[in-house]
Subunit: 309 residues, 4 copies
Amino acid sequence: MEKVAERQLEKWVDHTRIYANNGKVADYIPALKRQNPEINAAAFLHLDGECVQAGEADYLFTIQSVSKVLALAVALMNHGEEAVFSRVGKEPTSDPFYSISKLEVEKPSKPINPMINAGALAVTNMMSGKTSDDMLQEILEFVHQLIADDTVDYDREVAKSEYDSAFLNRSLCYFMKQNGIITGSVEELLDVYTKQCAIQMNVKQLAKVAAVFANEGKDIETGEQVIPRHYARICNTFMGTCGMYNQSGSFAINVGIPAKSGVSGVIMGVVKDVGGVAVFGPALDNTGNSVVGVKLLEIMSRSYQWSIF
Amino acid sequence: MEKVAERQLEKWVDHTRIYANNGKVADYIPALKRQNPEINAAAFLHLDGECVQAGEADYLFTIQSVSKVLALAVALMNHGEEAVFSRVGKEPTSDPFYSISKLEVEKPSKPINPMINAGALAVTNMMSGKTSDDMLQEILEFVHQLIADDTVDYDREVAKSEYDSAFLNRSLCYFMKQNGIITGSVEELLDVYTKQCAIQMNVKQLAKVAAVFANEGKDIETGEQVIPRHYARICNTFMGTCGMYNQSGSFAINVGIPAKSGVSGVIMGVVKDVGGVAVFGPALDNTGNSVVGVKLLEIMSRSYQWSIF
Amino acid sequence: MEKVAERQLEKWVDHTRIYANNGKVADYIPALKRQNPEINAAAFLHLDGECVQAGEADYLFTIQSVSKVLALAVALMNHGEEAVFSRVGKEPTSDPFYSISKLEVEKPSKPINPMINAGALAVTNMMSGKTSDDMLQEILEFVHQLIADDTVDYDREVAKSEYDSAFLNRSLCYFMKQNGIITGSVEELLDVYTKQCAIQMNVKQLAKVAAVFANEGKDIETGEQVIPRHYARICNTFMGTCGMYNQSGSFAINVGIPAKSGVSGVIMGVVKDVGGVAVFGPALDNTGNSVVGVKLLEIMSRSYQWSIF
Amino acid sequence: MEKVAERQLEKWVDHTRIYANNGKVADYIPALKRQNPEINAAAFLHLDGECVQAGEADYLFTIQSVSKVLALAVALMNHGEEAVFSRVGKEPTSDPFYSISKLEVEKPSKPINPMINAGALAVTNMMSGKTSDDMLQEILEFVHQLIADDTVDYDREVAKSEYDSAFLNRSLCYFMKQNGIITGSVEELLDVYTKQCAIQMNVKQLAKVAAVFANEGKDIETGEQVIPRHYARICNTFMGTCGMYNQSGSFAINVGIPAKSGVSGVIMGVVKDVGGVAVFGPALDNTGNSVVGVKLLEIMSRSYQWSIF
């Protein structure tokens, strides 16, 4: 498959910058509101190790919902497929990611999948650490291992801001606690969850994370199986069927690669056997996805024939 | 209208005791689980001051959801009809009292009525006190005034037990806080709410409360307007259309008086211009109403032609 | 209780006419759209036989949803309480009258009450006639008996117009047929249903119907028990808890009498032991109730202390 | 990629036959109930034209919901992407395929995707023919073209049986007619729809259909673009995200190819750039998918590394 060329990527990043006008920076988390909508960055890491980048490729953003994929991988490695899916479902949904009503209507009460908030909270509840610090550490160490970089940390201010305003996630947690889906302290769980969402990376680092998923769970340099192949595939599948909030179906048609977005404006994409991609642009469409990011991935996918469909 | 005769009431209380076998003591609140299902008590206070009673009439129970009516009366007196109903609706519902999904589905998000948990929590949030102690005091003082008895207090153990296990009510509160229906500290609100639910009375005391509602808000001895007439009517209406959980419609057909039940096994009933009634029996049917209590009120209503329909 | 005075009623009818500006004539049934919004009529029939009237008291309107109460009475007389309520529930609901989703979500699938469309269709399905003509005849004969007037008939044009545009009711019927709640031909059922809704009366005739319900099911002239007392009470109860679409709760607070409205702009009200009332004004509020009618009943209820609460 | 070997396929078909015991032949359509649960058949058509088959490969079944994909392709070719998706959504859903409640809850009312019944009915409503015969002919001719075989027809008995018992689909149609999603005669639409579902093929024929989708819309022999490439991709995407009823997510994990199942027990699968597969076995799991078919595809996908994730 044709490789991504840096000069071409730069042109696309320049060209798509203007689409930010069609979106709006997330305002429901106070600390995110301050992001500059004009930032636009992209990086692609080929499985042969060549990395191309464009725009503000060193800009650090919080990964937000992208962390749902990482926590899922850790939970699968901790407990295995059967245990994880006894507490969270596997089906995509057209409901918004923050929705609670299915938890009440469906019997047994179980989050529909690990990419909506309820499901992601249930997954983070499966970290093996006893304290919230241990649980967070588990996720951070997994990230450090994935990208061979111990410096990745989380943004304290964003984490605190999200924690303080996480009323909806609290509501989901207490509802699930009532129904035995999550156990232990809700406040500690939210502490871990808001911190995992506040993990900071730039597009180059995140492209490296994506590359592991594109490489069937193996480190692209050492070849080490960092994530068992079947678990990497499970993560890719969820990104493919429900990674882009309730625009996942339309994204699958227009882009056609497994991807996960976050409300900071980030999207991580997996191009199987080719490489990992990360794009960033804080202006969001009304489903919570980066307008510029979606546009950029559409262009790249069409140009390089990435669609799996 | 014919007066309730004590010997007759005793016979009925004896006769209905056996219906407790058709129900089950509430087990979702640990401290309620221990109640003796064989207790059966009833009291009727005529507006002329004559009180008749039968069974364990001195037995103290917690009033639970009956407190929803009392808090509503206080909120109406604090803020007026318009302000109260800007935050909670007026319509009956067939949904269970603990349901959350309508809060998500309906726009604007607003509890359907003050007799379901979401609505009652929004109402308690309207107490004028600044601290949770002040807010509780406000409700207790209202009760003291209604029955001219300062000794009424709440059961610490039941309150704590409910507070510790109030995951569903926490979920409702945080959902409403997200949507601006309630303000301030959720934990303080739950503290007040679980304490108001744990207020202890016997059937004689509760019949006195009911008598004020049957007397258009006036103290039956002094004639003082303790609750403005229109507000007393509003409370009676909610008891008439949605006071008996999601058995309110069938209770309206079979009994036909405004009434409010609580999961301790209590039912307070209002016989307009005649008197107030309270019955108690902890075994509940599957909608959360006292089996014996409903049976007893059916017999009384048919015998004395109480139905308003 | 004070009697309704004709001169007073005339003043009120004049005075409330202007409220029609706050509403809108029903437009979803083509034949109703043509009604003159300025018509305003009221009649009250005292149980002693004295009838007072005001406004266009001879104007013929179609009774629409008021027929739900009449069909319910017939079904109860045909099959008894147990059989009827095995196919339709007893609980009020905050859902709109045309709603279908509860039929899918609830198990077993059963309309919530006989005052919403789904429930009313299930009730009409219980007419004992074999053909749709026989079924309609059964309802018409019941009306003739109630008001001792064989001339009451249905409006062919309105019936046809409703039948032709009854897509939502068809949808409800087929859903219920799938779930075994209704049996036989859906088209014949809709034929009967749209004709029963198109039964024509003026306010004087409808006040006579209401008077029977106010008189515990007895003809006010002959004293004959036209509707068994318990069944009359059941009908009154449904009117009290869910007769005014999803404004039933607020109507219960502001007016406080059992009443049933129809989208033609009619409201029938039951003042127990006093008399029957009918008001008409085609401009509707957004819940489907006559704006002028509700206003008029509020004034009458406050003046004459009709509220049952 | 390794080719499918006929002897291997025969072994697998033999080996999986026993899984039929875990399922149940569809009984909601009378004519399907009679299918022999022991039939098991599979065919794979490589893009180079080599066809391998096993089991009862000449057995004719009705394609049922597989026709949803074919009608979607025709509708896209008739009206283009924008017009089609103005009437039906693109998002996967965890709701069952026959569900109606989202049509009521969501505004605007629009079926979630073309693979659930509501969406498929809206799609069939977009055939360009004026009469139901013309509309059906359009779909049949498309099939004839896809597999270069004019003999394919529909099963009259199954079509009639489905038409007569299609109460739920009628309910969906009338609901959508009310909301302007479908136009014209509901009965004619159901006539076409039940006939398209009753189109008969054997696994060899259906594998040929699948091969066109695997070949980016091109005929594998002539290379002719039978379906425009982008539309073929849209169809593949829907099969990938929501083709297996509400087991689509779990099928994506375990098998990972775009596929569409039908309640007759058929599954059509698309292996991009490799070939088309069809399996048949009438015993269904509780989501409506062939138990044996799913098992067989799992084995094949693992052996030949088909997963797109």
